[in-house]
Structure formats: C-alpha cells, structure tokens
C-alpha cells in the first residue's frame, strides 16, 4: 500500500489509505497569551467558571463528550453536571487509570482524592505523605461520602462490583515501597474480598474485562506487569512489561503495548492470555506509537501519542484510529497534531476518548518559551482532521472519567 502525507506542518493532517483524508486547521489551546486564532467563544470561560462544562457541551461542532470530570470539582456524566465534594486526584495512579469512574447504570460515581497531601517537599524517607480515599457519589441525591479510606484506583464492573487497591499500612509513605492488595466488593457493596496473595507488591487496579479484573504490578523503575484476576487468589500474567492500551467493550480482549517498545501492539484474549494478534502498524511517518489509557468503542480503538520509529525525537504527534476486526488489528486513520502551535511546543498527548458523535477528545500538554508546562483538552473530528480546544489552558492534568464501558448512553 502506498501512503501519502496529507497536509502541512501547520495543519492537522489526516493520513488514510490512499491519502483520502481532508486537512483542517487546529486552534490554539487558549486565546490568553497564546496568540493565533482564537477558539470558539463558547470555550472562552475561565477554569473556575461553571460555564466551562456548558461550553464543552455546546461546542460549536456539536461534540458532546459522554463523561469526564473537570477542574474545580465539576463532573459531567451523561450530559448532567455535578459538583463533587473534592477535586479528584490520585497521587499514585493518575494517568495510569482514571481518577473517577461512573457505574454502568449511571447512578453512582467513584473517585479518588487524597487527605493530607501537601506535596513531597520536605518529607523524609518513610514519612506519611497522605492518605488516599475513594469517595462514592449518589448522582441522584448528590450525597458524596467516603467509600474506602487508604484505597485508590476504583474500577467498576458491569454487575456493580467495585475493585480497588488498598495500601497495606493505610497511607502513602515517602520514598519507600508502598505495597497494596487488590480488593473487590460484592455487587451489593457488602463484604470485600482480597483477590491478591502477595504482600510486597504494589498493585494498581486497571479495569474490568467482563468478569475478569485487570491490574498492574508496579515494580522497580516504574516497570509494570499486567495481570488478570479471575477471583480471590486466582490470577494469570497477561503481559511482562506490557501496559493496557484499552479493554474491548465486551470484555473479551485487551490491547497491550510493550513498555520498552511503544510501537509493538498485542491483542490478547483475557480469558486465557492467548495472543490473538501482535505487530506494528505502519504509517508513512513511521509506525504508530501507543501508550496506556486509550479507548476502545465497538471495533474501533483510538490511540495516542503519535508515530515514528524512534530515530528522532520528538516524533510526530497525533492519534490513530485502529480497528480490530476478523482477528486482526489494522490502522484506519492517523491524524497528525502539530508539534508546535501558538507558541507552544507539544510534549505529550494522553487519555484519548471517543465522543458519542465519533469525535475524539484528548489531553494535550506543551511547554511555552519559558519552559512552563501547560495542559488543555481538545476535541478532534477525525474525518475532517480538525481539532479545537475545549478547555482553557491550565497547569495540572485533569482527572478523566472512564467512558469505555458505559458510553451506550444510560441516562441517570
């Protein structure tokens, strides 16, 4: 197959088979101090303004993300906005897994926050740096209460069970191992069961693949192993060094990427660990690069952060739309996001999510000319190869709610 590059460096370029994609412009992340073309006026709200959420929903191109949390404790679930008691944050697992997760019926939200967190400056080895707490929100009544203390990384199963990890001494301690154990509630929220058997490993619960719980073992140097739990004390290694790009909506498969080779994708059957497909996906810019925390909807998967063979950095930033069909993973489209725009130099793309109308929402981070790091969200239309910011620039990552498994549109 012959590939052609569509668009210039200043455009969001869409690469498809036969170069059929159109090219469009990308707006800068914020009008404030960024220069360039201003984003739609509907997104020119401050981060502390509740209108931000409305602005997202009423984005001029009609993109309506199905679920996510946002700054200043505002969360949107299935089109409704709620204010949480605390800003979701997870000091130990943010980015790896969502900090806020709704249930499948859309009635409840679980999120992680930290008590006593003051940052790490001034702490000595072994000193308590904070206590993770999972909170549960009844989205009908607004009741926001402690679900489990000393715990983080909630993952909700379709039958209502909640998996999480529990710090073995109940708190994070600075610069020492902080082992956890994997816990699972019953569907009625009653007795919790311990599913892991080791007491010297830090686990992070990733998500449910049907009846199977997927989790990371986090080892030295941030190296991870991905394991599948089938019940208390029953687990299987899914991948040595592989991280979870996405779990299929039916829970039967998991897409993994090798931590030390971000171009090598593997699709595994969760029930037995069998490899269904493995390999690279080529674009004219080099193979697709993937990272954990992406999205799988139907047979399509959206993957960030770009493409390139690793011979030069930064490579080309962008997102890929993949398709898993007939036992094979293929590339449907690769959309380039300019590495430099509006005076900012892009340094990462993370947590892409399909929106209900086929768009893609993702988090971007960039450096300004003084080296300050900025974050914002953008929504892209893969077909038009156009992206627009939907949040103002800010200086922290946002918590992102998981939408993979419930984007069917349950209305609370």
């Amino acid at each position: 197959m012959v590939w052609g590059r569509c668009g210039s460096a200043l455009l969001v370029a869409s690469l498809v088979a036969g170069c059929g994609g159109a090219a469009g412009t990308v707006s800068p992340p914020s009008a404030a101090g960024a220069g360039g073309t201003a984003p739609p006026s509907s997104v020119l709200a401050t981060a502390s303004d509740s209108r931000v959420v409305d602005a997202v929903i009423s984005d001029t191109r009609g993109v309506a993300p199905t679920g996510f949390t946002i700054q200043d404790r505002l969360v949107t679930v299935a089109g409704r906005t709620f204010r949480l008691a605390y800003q979701p944050m997870d000091v130990l697992a943010a980015m790896l897994v969502p900090e806020a997760v709704p249930t499948f019926d859309g009635k409840t939200l679980y999120y992680t926050m930290w008590e006593g967190w003051r940052g790490l400056d001034g702490l000595t080895e072994g000193e308590v740096g904070g206590v993770p707490v999972i909170r549960r929100v009844d989205l009908a009544s607004g009741v926001d209460e402690v679900f489990r203390r000393g715990a983080y990384a909630a993952a909700v199963a379709e039958d209502g069970r909640v998996a999480y990890v529990e710090d073995l001494d109940g708190a994070y301690r600075f610069s020492v191992p902080n082992p956890t154990r994997v816990m699972v509630t019953s569907s009625d929220g009653g007795a919790d069961e311990v599913w892991s058997t080791e007491d010297d490993i830090r686990y992070v619960t990733v998500g449910w693949a049907g009846e199977v719980l997927v989790a990371y073992q986090v080892l030295e140097g941030e190296y991870v192993r991905t394991v599948a739990f089938y019940g208390p004390g029953r687990s299987r290694l899914l991948s040595e060094g592989g991280m979870v790009v996405a779990i299929s909506p039916d829970g039967s498969k998991v897409l993994l990427i090798e931590q030390e080779n971000w171009t090598h994708f593997v699709v595994e059957d969760v029930s037995d660990g069998a490899v269904l497909w493995s390999g690279e996906l080529d674009t004219p810019l080099g193979p697709v690069n993937g990272i954990y925390g992406c999205d799988w909807d139907g047979d399509r998967i959206v993957v960030v952060p770009g493409a390139g063979d690793g011979s030069s950095y930064p490579y080309v930033f962008g997102f890929a739309i993949l398709r898993f069909d007939d036992g094979a993973l293929s590339l449907e489209r690769f959309v380039v996001v300019p590495g430099e725009t509006a005076g900012l130099r892009l340094i990462s793309l993370m947590t892409p999510r399909f929106t209900t109308d086929g768009g893609v929402r993702l988090q971007a981070s960039a450096l300004d000319d003084k080296g300050k790091q900025w974050f914002w969200d953008m929504v892209c239309d893969p077909a038009a190869a156009a992206c627009a910011p939907v949040t103002p620039r800010r200086d922290t990552y946002l918590a992102v709610a998981e939408v993979n498994n419930w984007s069917g549109g349950v209305q609370p």
């Binding site: 997870d90 941030e222 080779n261 950095y313 990462s348 793309l349």
Partner: protein, 208 residues
C-alpha cells in the same frame, strides 16, 4: 582498662595534643550531598537518549557523561509515568547505593532515588540511576534483541522512569564504573546509606 581501650585513649590524646600544638585539623571526610558539594546533575537533552549526567566533588565537576531519561513516547513530559523523563528538582537517595542490586528488575550498580512529583501530576516512584548489567556487574546478552542486562546500543539510554548511563560494551564508555568510583572516592559515599540531595535534575545548574 583493656589493651585496646588503652591504645584508643592514647591515640586520642596524641591527636588532641597534635592539634593543639601544631594547629593541624584533620580533613573532614567527604560525604555525598549538595551541602558538601558532592552531587550529580542530570541535564535533559533534546532527546531522551542525549542528556548529560555530571558529577561534582567539592563543587568542582569531576565527571561528565551521556545519560538518558524518558522513553520513546511523551518522553519530555515528567507528568507521564512509565514514559516521561524524571521531574526537575533535587533527589535524595532511597535505600542508598548498591553494588549488587537484584530485587526484581534492575540489577547491579544502582542509586535508588526518592519519589518525586511535579505539582499537579502523579508521583514518580521506584526511580534509579543505573545501567544495563547483571547483579555481579557483568553482561548477559543471550539474544539478538534488546536484552535487559546487556548494553547493546544508544537505545539503551531510553528509560521508562530512571536515569540510565552506559556500560563498557560495544564501544560505549564505562560510565557506570566511573560514577561508581566517584561515589566511593571523591563523593565519599557508602552503600545502603541515606543521603540528602545527591541528584539535581533540571536544564539549569542546581541552586546551591
């Protein structure tokens, strides 16, 4: 008084008299840490594989070597765990320096580093300065692919959450050996010992 105690007391008296009579003060033993001028500085490069690690003895540069931090994706974002480079700032040792580390993944000569979090981002944990070698400081290269305890090429500077320096294999310099010698020599570092502010990460030199 035992014979050893008598000898020790006599030596202390002689040393004290020498200091009083000659005005000679024995030199302070070197110890790692910014406040002693014995520290390392990792300056990120333009790529994850071309940073620079410098080592200082008494505030004077003693070593400079190529080092890497960050992986093949999102490498320059310290907020991205398991992929981005180390966040800027000072690092203490965590559980100290080891010669024959062999816990579960990283082996050989290592410097454990304290946890670090850029404001608003996830905490980076279980960080090290290390190379790719076996627990007994050798090489294990059983395949033609990237073996974890074998320094094959410049891609081995890539790191998912550490600072990596080269092993003298395939024409690469003995950076791990040089740093190890500096640590126990000019820096005065011991094994398995906690020290404060032994590594600075940043584009600019550390605030001293």
């Amino acid at each position: 008084m035992t014979r050893h105690a008598w000898l020790r007391a006599s030596l202390l008296v002689v040393a004290a008299v020498g200091i009083l009579v000659l005005g000679v003060v024995p030199p302070a033993l070197a110890t790692p840490g910014a406040s002693y001028g014995n520290y390392m500085w990792y300056k990120p490069g333009t790529q994850p594989t071309n940073g620079t690690l410098r080592a200082y003895t008494g505030y004077h540069q003693a070593l400079s070597m190529t080092a890497g931090s960050g992986s093949g994706v999102n490498w320059n974002d310290p907020c991205v765990p398991n992929a981005g480079r180390l966040p800027d700032g000072w690092y203490n040792t965590y559980n100290g320096h080891h010669v024959d580390h062999k816990n579960d993944l990283i082996k050989g000569r290592v410097w454990g580093l304290s946890d670090k979090a850029k404001a608003g981002c996830q905490t980076r944990t279980a960080l090290f300065i290390h190379t790719e070698e076996t627990a007994d400081n050798g090489q294990y290269c059983p395949t033609n692919d990237d073996d974890p305890y074998c320094w094959e090429n410049a891609n081995d500077y890539l790191s998912i959450g550490c600072v990596k320096i080269s092993y003298p294999n395939n024409g690469f310099p003995n950076s791990i050996g040089s740093l190890h010698t500096w640590w126990h020599g000019g820096a005065g570092g011991l094994n398995s010992t906690y020290y404060s502010q032994i590594l600075w990460v940043g584009a600019s030199s550390p605030p001293l």
